[in-house]
């Protein structure tokens, strides 16, 4: 019975199930538009951000972990010293997410009633920094020091065999905070996953204050007045950042194969490498002929698709779904915004293409190390 249950979890945890599920849930939990907000309200999902909701979330988390720890495979992965921070990260992120949104929804409700946010009430009064702030900071330092010391005593820092450049461990993993990038390597070439995306992420983050021209919600927690910004941010932050790290750390085993949380990391596990390039799909499967020798001719379909993606989509979106956004941001801001969005969206798109059509590369020019 329990085995069956674990098996189901293992299957559910597979990226091609888990990931779409999370995206769907995300859309409703963090509604980006008024329409979605209505659905959210109707489903009562907002109740997650109340004290009871918090208790429920944490009860679920703790129960889940508690149950998981009874399984040796799960235990082995989760209690590996270098993975402990990620477990902590899960709890902290969930907690602070709940904590932030709870305050945000409270403020939203106040706003709906025509009141100013809680912070504004507080801000009416000024306080001398000595001793209140200095003191709590001091206490925080003490607590965090104590935490570090206890942590250091309980968990030894990992130290494996001496470095051996000829024997690579299987799997070889980057430091955990880069595992999101490494996970992307499954779907993209290193120059995209390892160079282009980090650069874009950095630039994108830096651009946030300049793209988001919504003046509301400064200096207090809120959701409703900036739901678009928050939803997009949380999508990156929670799904494309934290969730990918968790996948990379806990669910990727030997040969970078996927393993469910309760699955044994069997080196022999095989995953069918049945991926093919777009050009092969077009020429070999659809047209039933050989690949052309001319590179440009061979890859023209992929190149067209890419061009279309980056030129047509913004135009269409500006006229349809994102009309409001376009109006609010103006052409320059909108262009920058949409390029970042499309780049970001390319990851889930590529994932789906892989899962559904076994597409390896849209454009594959190994002659120039250029694979997209």
């Amino acid at each position: 019975m329990i085995e069956e249950f674990k098996n189901i979890i293992n299957i559910l945890a597979r990226p091609y199930i888990m990931f779409p599920a999370m995206i769907v849930a995300f859309i409703f939990i963090f509604p980006a538009t008024d329409g979605l907000m209505k659905i959210n309200r109707r489903l009562g999902l907002y109740k997650l951000w109340t004290n009871n909701g918090g208790i429920a979330i944490f009860a679920f988390l703790f129960l889940g972990f508690g149950f998981g720890l009874t399984d040796p495979n799960f235990r082995a992965i989760v209690t590996k010293p270098d993975n402990v921070p990620i477990v902590g990260l899960i709890f902290l992120v969930v907690f602070f997410l709940w904590f932030a949104l709870k305050q945000a929804w409270e403020n939203d409700e106040r706003e709906a009633k025509g009141l100013r946010p809680n912070e504004a009430e507080d801000a009416k009064e000024n306080i001398l920094v000595w001793p209140d702030l200095v003191y709590i900071e001091f206490i925080a330092m003490l607590l965090i020091s104590a935490l570090l010391i206890v942590w250091a005593i309980v968990l030894k820092a990992p130290l494996e065999q001496p470095a051996n450049p000829t024997v690579s461990p299987n799997p070889s993993k980057a430091p955990w905070y880069f595992l999101g990038l490494q996970e992307m390597l499954v779907y993209f070439d290193p120059w995209i996953a390892g160079v282009l995306f980090p650069t874009v992420i950095m630039l994108g983050f830096m651009c946030i204050p300049f793209i988001d021209n919504n003046r509301k919600g400064l200096g207090y927690y809120s959701f409703n007045s900036r739901k678009m910004a928050i939803s997009i941010f949380l999508f990156f932050w929670l799904i494309l950042w934290i969730f990918l790290i968790i996948t990379g750390t806990f669910l990727r085993g030997p040969n970078w194969n996927f393993f469910g949380p309760f699955e044994y990391w069997d080196v022999h596990k095989l995953e069918a490498l049945t991926n093919i390039n777009l050009s092969e799909v077009v020429y070999m499967i659809l047209l039933n002929q050989r690949l052309p020798d001319n590179i440009l001719l061979r890859e023209i379909w992929g190149i067209l698709a890419l061009l279309g993606y980056f030129t047509l989509t913004p135009l269409i979106l500006a006229k349809t779904f994102l009309k409001n956004v376009y109006n609010r941001l103006g052409p320059l801001r909108y262009s920058i915004f949409i390029i970042f969005m499309l780049l970001a969206a390319s990851l889930p798109i590529k994932m789906f293409l892989r899962w559904i059509f076994n597409i390896k590369y849209i454009v594959a020019i190994p002659e120039f190390f250029l694979n997209i």
């Binding site: 000829t166 024997v167 040969n255 080196v267 022999h268 490498l273």
Partner: protein, 181 residues
């Protein structure tokens, strides 16, 4: 810096005691020269740092070795000459010479070449590979890897272990993965 603004002289009717030496153009010239030179200096510093990052000599263990002339290898022979020193088999078939890594793709043991059965056999878990490196028995998931191989200026074979070619990725057709003889 009022002088730099083109509007200043007209907007400032009170005569300012200015040294009557340089006209505006010489002034701009000097300042431009100065800043250009300064920019060049900064560029020079930057270049210096970049160049500094690339050492002139390396102390890395050699990843490349010379394996003698192609004539030293018989057609159909798997040479074990460089197995111990460089972890490489040099194989010559009727058309080409290639270098196989002596690392089993299963768990990394070193297989043995069985001359009589014409196959590589891994002693750890029994994976078997043909002379080409293709796996045909045992748990090995993929063929043996090949190293980059080329002829030096004086006709000697050079094997470069920094680059590997994997059959399952279709890399064995890469012209650097073999030497035609």
């Amino acid at each position: 810096m009022t002088e730099t603004k083109p509007s200043t002289p007209s907007s400032n009717p009170t005569p300012v005691p200015q040294p009557p030496t340089m006209d505006r153009r010489t002034f701009i010239k000097w300042s431009a020269v100065g800043w250009a030179a300064f920019a060049a200096v900064i560029g020079g510093y930057g270049t210096m740092i970049v160049r500094y990052l690339f050492p002139n000599v390396l102390f890395e263990p050699k990843q490349e070795f010379r394996a003698g002339l192609p004539e030293e290898y018989q057609v159909g022979e798997v040479s074990e000459r460089w197995k111990d020193a460089y972890g490489t088999w040099i194989v010559r078939d009727s058309e080409k010479i290639y270098a196989l890594a002596t690392i089993c793709t299963h768990l990394g043991c070193t297989p043995n070449w069985m001359q009589n059965e014409a196959k590589f056999k891994c002693p750890c878990h029994g994976s078997g590979f043909y002379m080409t490196g293709i796996h045909f028995e045992g748990p090995a998931p993929r063929p043996l890897e090949r190293y980059r191989i080329f002829l030096s200026d004086d006709g000697e074979i050079v094997v470069d272990k920094t680059r590997k070619f994997q059959q399952e990725k279709g890399e064995w057709s890469d012209p650097e993965s073999f030497v035609t003889v």
